[in-house]
Symmetry: C2
Subunit: 140 residues, 2 copies
Amino acid sequence: MDAEVIKRSLQSSGLRCTAPRYAMMAFLTDHKGHPTAAEIFKAVNRVDPRSSRATTYNNLRDLVKAGLVREVAVEGRAGRFDLEGMRHHHFVCDRCGNVEDVDWYDVPQPASHSLGKRVVRECQLIFRGLCAKCAQRAPR
Amino acid sequence: MDAEVIKRSLQSSGLRCTAPRYAMMAFLTDHKGHPTAAEIFKAVNRVDPRSSRATTYNNLRDLVKAGLVREVAVEGRAGRFDLEGMRHHHFVCDRCGNVEDVDWYDVPQPASHSLGKRVVRECQLIFRGLCAKCAQRAPR
DNA sequence: CCCTATATTAGATATAATCTAAATCATTCA
DNA sequence: TGAATGATTTAGATTATATCTAATATAGGG
């Protein structure tokens, strides 16, 4: 995702293209991991060392609300984020806590009677277990 | 789940049956919501007002490790827990943040080539959208 | 080039979770 | 039953994470 694309996707969501927002989107584009807010804050600070923590959190909320960024539903201490681009599921390692992507595939919707009047916007699938590296090490 | 069952399920996991642990299990049995650690702490404190926050967190970790309790994968600020008993999926309301249960149904596993050497222990499905109550109120 | 709503800032504050080391208790085994 | 012992609990401090505030700055439209 290059400069123009980032700018346009921000603006088409009604968000101004500011330096911190741009830096966040660029960082998320380049880092396919699932950075925490703190990591994103640090990255934005490398670009502009005067950036504020509050801005990072504000923008994360705005970007999530705009549908450009997604907060990954993991239970760890700190929120983790990724670009809402190519769809994928997530795998969280029981031992090392790493969050990895798993190729996307369709998940069947629940039966309509068990949903009732709820309106589903999205669905996330989270696998848990041992990542490749931890699975090969001797059991604790 | 009555007293004896709780006691035995703790012991068969190698955990002593202590007052705080018992109170936590009993509370989770009675409260099918998805209480936060703070709510569980408060509940345990109603039983024994001298209980410590640290104990609550220690025990939650132990109970999760033992497979008796599950931490729900929601992205909110505070961790949420429920009994690992009847399986179910989760629905999180975009607007009010409530976490609700959705009837269990089998979710297909990912293709083995996209899992690689990872070992899957469990899988959680989280739906997001508007709960019945919020869906019926006028759009924000 | 202005104007103005939107966004950013530093720092204080709130909330959530963990750590420490001493005291206590549940279970085992004689 | 009565120690012995290792697991567990405790209060309170500490760390980590997130949000709030009100003053300042800036993007983008006219």
